[in-house]
């Protein structure tokens, strides 16, 4: 990759293309390499091949799971941000008396799964502008991501002292509080966030209500989310979840043609695959959390103890920013588990 970049910068485009080809062969899903490869191909006049790579790049990006819409902007995205880390690093070397490069770099680290590095960047920004609320909020998110929940709550408290209506900070604080086992406190914070979110942000409101396992509150928001984002299967899945937990009659929607995640969870609701089938398909830690939660939802209709076991499993997996984590904790409190 580095040789490819050097080739691009030094005008040795053929070398760049060869280097990127090798990189892509080893890591076909590496977004930055794909983008650089596409650029190099375009520059040497291989426009058709470049177009294929650009298309592949966009498909890869589109397939990257998105964070929940109720969360802070910086934690709403996930994926590969090494290019941004590097680009803002270059900027920060030259513009080292202004906060933007450090914040942008910190956010890139956070989204790329390196919260400790993110905290360092935010600290650099805070040295330049001590007490900057917007950075304190980002730092609190990063602290939460490394499990320093008490410090995270303290950070969010400062942010909320400055602006009690900061919905994103409320979300962060609620998650950290829930992670600390303060369920009632967390729910009170989410309720405040829910009240602040305008009706047009139905997906975000739905997520907040789901975290509280308040399915009656979530259902109308989910109906709106399904109507406006029919392609996003999570809204269909969560709508089914709410209907089941409210013991309402369910009419199964048509299942998607593709079996890409979360389609297996919909298939589970439809009875097309069983517990083992869905667990086999849950091939990442996050998917295992989602699968365990849905298995709990299905079990709860007939076997409360089994449901409790699944939801305890969700809690033990400690993916504290997942909707399922908070919902499972709330379910367990209600079931006395």
């Amino acid at each position: 990759m580095a040789n490819g970049r050097s080739g691009l910068r030094s005008g040795n485009l053929r070398l760049a293309v060869e280097e990127f080809e090798q990189t892509i062969a080893q890591a076909p899903d590496w977004l930055e390499a794909t983008e650089a490869y596409a650029e190099a191909l375009d520059m040497v006049g291989e426009t058709a091949r470049a177009a294929v790579e650009y298309r592949r790049l966009r498909d890869l990006r589109a397939a990257t799971p998105k964070g929940s819409p109720d969360r802070g902007y910086a934690v709403r995205r996930r994926g590969q941000f090494t290019e941004e880390v590097s680009a803002y690093g270059l900027v920060a070397r030259r513009i080292d008396r202004m906060v933007f490069p450090f914040i942008a770099r910190g956010n890139a680290f956070l989204a790329d799964g390196h919260p400790t590095e993110a905290i360092r960047q935010y600290d650099r920004a805070l040295r330049l502008k001590p007490g900057l609320i917007t950075v304190l909020a980002l730092r609190a998110e990063a602290l939460s991501a490394v499990g320093r929940f008490r410090e995270s709550v303290a950070g969010f408290d400062k942010v909320l002292a400055a602006n009690r209506n900061d919905a994103e900070a409320l979300s962060g604080r609620a998650i950290a509080r829930m992670a600390l086992g303060k369920v009632a406190d967390a729910n009170a914070t989410w309720l405040r966030q829910f009240e602040l979110l305008p009706p047009e942000q139905a997906p975000a409101r739905a997520c907040v209500a789901l975290r509280m396992a308040d399915y009656a509150r979530a259902l109308p928001e989910l109906e709106r989310a399904v109507a406006t984002n029919p392609a996003d299967l999570y809204w269909t899945l969560y709508r089914l979840t709410a209907l089941r937990r409210l013991e309402r009659q369910i009419q199964m929607p048509a299942l998607p043609g593709s079996d890409a995640w979360p389609a297996p969870l919909l298939a589970l609701h439809a009875g097309h695959i069983d517990e083992a089938g869905v667990q086999a398909r849950a091939d990442t830690p996050g998917r295992r959390t989602e699968a365990a939660f849905q298995l709990g939802v299905l079990a709860a209709e007939a076997d409360k103890e089994a449901a409790k076991r699944w939801w305890r499993d969700v809690v033990e997996q400690q993916r504290v920013d997942f909707i399922e984590y908070a919902a499972a904790r709330n379910e367990l409190v209600r079931l006395g588990g």
């Binding site: 177009a51 995205r77 941000f81 030259r94 513009i95 933007f100 914040i103 900057l132 950075v135």
Partner: protein
């Protein structure tokens, strides 16, 4: 699929603006293929007595451009609260936000660009709607390539966008135009503001452009910084579309003073941005509570309104021409040809807001009758205010309000003062040496007194909330005894006699009489 947002005003911003803009409007429309696509042009702070910029160049726009173009007119009165804070006459952030607020909610994308850009899809025949429809959510930019002034000026046909785009494809190779200028992140490219495509919902989430940026420049970089934070990435559409900028460096634009150019603070608005959001303007960006007039070029045009108004009251001529004269011995003859003059009067008011309240002080009842009918026909909804002291004026015309002059003065947005002979009938001969009767003289005396009062106390009698001076239109005030009287009080241009109309703002009378009159007006003493 997408709303293009651009802005400007009816002035001369840079070299050969009219051609550049026409080329650009037509080319932007040419790459639209979705029925929801639109070009939202904010016409910011064009004087009330001028048409908007797109109206001024409408004849050079294609039918397609006219059909997708929505002109959102921001009046000088709506800008006046910002006037003292900036040296600029058109504000980018405000303009773009006004359009964003009012853009088609069915569109997924907002494309920010300028009125001198042409966008060329790399795959021939592919529209920008198709391109934007095929890419995932994100914040996209594309590099801008420069087009030498001679090329667009000499070789482009402004009404042939397809031909222009084809020429660009050829020139790009022939003249090696395509040079990408990379820039630091988050800008990614130089001159980034000429192609920034963002999701409409993202723009609402971050509260639009920063409306504290009123000194010009860097609005695009600020947006890039904030969207880069919000989205995490700045994506490129370099593989799908190229942007070409019609260079205009022969003459510097008003906002370009070389090294002395005033600008928004680079550090504050780019390098010290710490959040995508602008909570301070969350509820106010894009002026949601302001009524912004919308003008279309494909329907209800100014010309159509003019015809509907004037055409309904003026009978077509039955002779090849009529005559009048400016020979000296006719100086005191105040007769004029009303059906001939009325179109020139209507021309003075047509560009005003439809809700305008106009105070008409006239000697001739037939002038008021015909003008009132034309006024309604032109689509005005505001009242015609008539002074009750002018007993000879008709009181039965729908849409007129009769009240004391002193009260009308405080309701009027603009004024007409007409100096004719009340005794003249519509088909009486014009300028034949007719004398002023005693009745005429009394009426003229009252109109003259009211003109004096209105001009002296103009500032003190403005309707509540109005800050800008009101305009005075004089009818039959050229080359007769009311010519010096009117121009002593109103700073009007020199106009041809044939129109019989002058217009301008009140001159400030610094004499002790003027000061006393202003004080009386301020205190409400009539």
């Amino acid at each position: 699929m997408f709303s293009v947002i651009i802005y400007g005003r009816n002035d001369s911003h840079g070299y050969n603006l009219h051609k550049r803009a026409a080329i650009s409007f037509n080319a932007l429309a040419e790459v639209m293929s979705d029925p929801d696509d639109e070009i939202c042009f904010v016409d910011y702070n064009t004087p009330d007595d001028h048409p908007t910029f797109p109206e001024a160049i409408a004849d050079t726009l294609t039918d397609k451009a006219k059909s997708v173009l929505r002109v959102l007119r921001v009046r000088p009165e709506q800008h006046v609260h910002l006037k003292s804070k900036t040296h600029l006459v058109a504000l980018e952030a405000q303009s773009r936000n006004i359009a964003l607020r009012r853009s088609n909610p069915r569109n997924r994308w907002i494309l920010y660009t300028n009125t001198d850009m042409l966008l060329v899809s790399r795959k021939e025949g592919e529209s920008l709607s198709e391109i934007l429809g095929s890419v995932p959510d994100g914040f996209y930019q594309t590099p801008r390539f420069e087009l030498p002034e001679m090329l667009w000026e000499a070789a482009f046909d402004r009404r042939d966008p397809a031909g222009n785009l084809a020429k660009l494809r050829q020139w790009a190779v022939q003249f090696r135009l395509n040079q990408v200028v990379h820039n630091y992140m988050p800008m990614k490219y130089d001159a980034l503001g000429d192609f920034q495509a963002a999701l409409r919902e993202d723009m609402f989430a971050i509260h639009g452009f920063d409306e504290t940026m009123i000194l010009g420049w860097h609005c695009d970089s600020n947006l890039a910084a904030r969207l880069a934070l919000y989205r995490g990435k700045v994506d490129t559409l370099i593989d799908r579309v190229f942007g070409y900028h019609c260079d205009h460096t022969r003459v510097a634009a008003a906002n370009n003073k070389g090294r002395a150019t005033k600008m928004n603070d680079h550090d504050r608005y780019i390098w010290n941005v710490s959040t995508p959001y602008l909570p301070a303007q969350a509820k106010t960006w894009g002026w949601p509570d302001q009524e912004i007039e919308e003008i279309r070029l494909d329907r209800d045009t100014a010309y159509q309104r003019f015809v509907a108004g004037v055409g309904s009251v003026v009978e077509p001529a039955t002779a090849p021409y009529s005559t009048t004269s400016i020979e000296w011995y006719l100086f005191n003859d105040l007769t004029y040809d009303l059906p001939h003059t009325l179109p020139f009067v209507c021309d003075q008011v047509l560009t005003y807001p439809r809700s305008t309240a106009i105070l008409v002080t006239a000697t001739r009842p037939d002038f008021v009758r015909l003008f009132a009918e034309a006024w309604r026909g032109m689509g005005f909804t505001g009242p015609i205010l008539l002074p009750s002291e002018c007993k000879w004026l008709p009181t039965d015309i729908p849409g007129t309000v009769v009240d004391k002059f002193s009260r009308q003065l405080r309701k009027a947005d603009t004024f007409i003062f007409e100096f004719g002979l009340g005794s003249q009938a519509l088909d009486d001969p014009v300028r034949t040496g007719r004398a002023t009767t005693l009745v005429d003289a009394r009426r003229l005396s009252m109109v003259r007194r009211f003109l004096r009062r209105a001009t002296i106390a103009e500032a003190e009698t403005r309707p509540p909330g109005r800050q800008l001076p009101r305009r005075f239109i004089g009818v039959n005030v050229i080359f007769n005894k009311y010519w010096p009287l009117f121009t002593d009080r109103v700073a009007a241009n020199i106009n041809p006699f044939c129109g019989q109309v002058l217009a301008g703002l009140a001159r400030i009378d610094e004499s002790w009489k003027g000061k006393l009159s202003r004080m009386r007006a301020k205190l409400g003493v009539s």
